[in-house]
Amino acid sequence: MITIFYFAGLREAAGVPQEQAELDGRTVGELLEWIGGKYPHLPLDAVRVAVNEEYALPEDVLRQGDTAALIPPVSGG
């Protein structure tokens, strides 16, 4: 199982702040495909994914217990 976090506009659009999914062994790119299939209305174009609080690449592989956060364009400052 991995944990998925949604923030800001994505959280509001998904309707949940987080969820768990059986995506162990899948890549970050596959995670985004899975999310796009489950929530077709989510704007994922400019989204980055952080795995365990570090920005990840599409080919990075998810492991049991990982947390994957969907990071929409940031606007701090």
Binding site: F7, G9, A46
Partner: protein, 152 residues
């Protein structure tokens, strides 16, 4: 306080300036970003900030390490507030000290640019007639960002 932190209470900027001061520092620059009432003719009532807190603090610390590597001898401290902020309140404070002033200016400005690229914090603007999560859709990861104009 932590040198790099996300806070929920009002920010006292002097605390961060004091933190970076040392006997070998001749210059301290302190930047504060404030909630602005008017942006391009639209009146903001207040802002709400949200963060992925542990990652935000980690990336702020990473930015501090980048600064100290690029401008040796500087010391930095950064805080960002989340929750609801009224007009004029401080959203972000960046304190930098260095032996010479040029580094303190440059490193400070570098920090705010990097925050706007990297740190998982999101701003929602609340106007009289609606709300919107602000995010520069054109912005690509790790590319220096232009001034967004959304605030400061």
């Amino acid at each position: 306080m932590k040198a790099y932190e996300i806070v929920t209470e009002p920010i006292d900027p002097q605390k961060y300036a004091d933190y970076v001061l040392r006997p070998e520092a001749g210059a301290v620059t302190l930047f504060t970003g404030h909630v602005r009432e008017w942006t391009k003719g639209v009146r903001t009532l207040y802002l709400a900030y949200e963060a992925y807190v542990p990652m935000a603090e980690k990336t702020l610390r990473q930015i501090g390490e980048e600064m100290e590597a690029k401008w040796p001898g500087t010391r930095a401290s950064i805080a960002h507030r989340i929750g609801e902020l009224a007009i004029g309140e401080i959203a972000v404070v960046i304190a930098v000290s260095s032996p010479h002033r040029k580094d303190a200016y440059e490193a400070n400005e570098y920090a705010i640019e990097r925050i706007k690229e990297l740190v998982p914090i999101w701003k929602k603007e609340i106007w009289e007639d609606g709300t919107e999560w602000i995010g520069d859709q054109r912005k690509k990861p790790d590319v220096p960002a232009a001034d967004s104009g959304a605030n400061e």
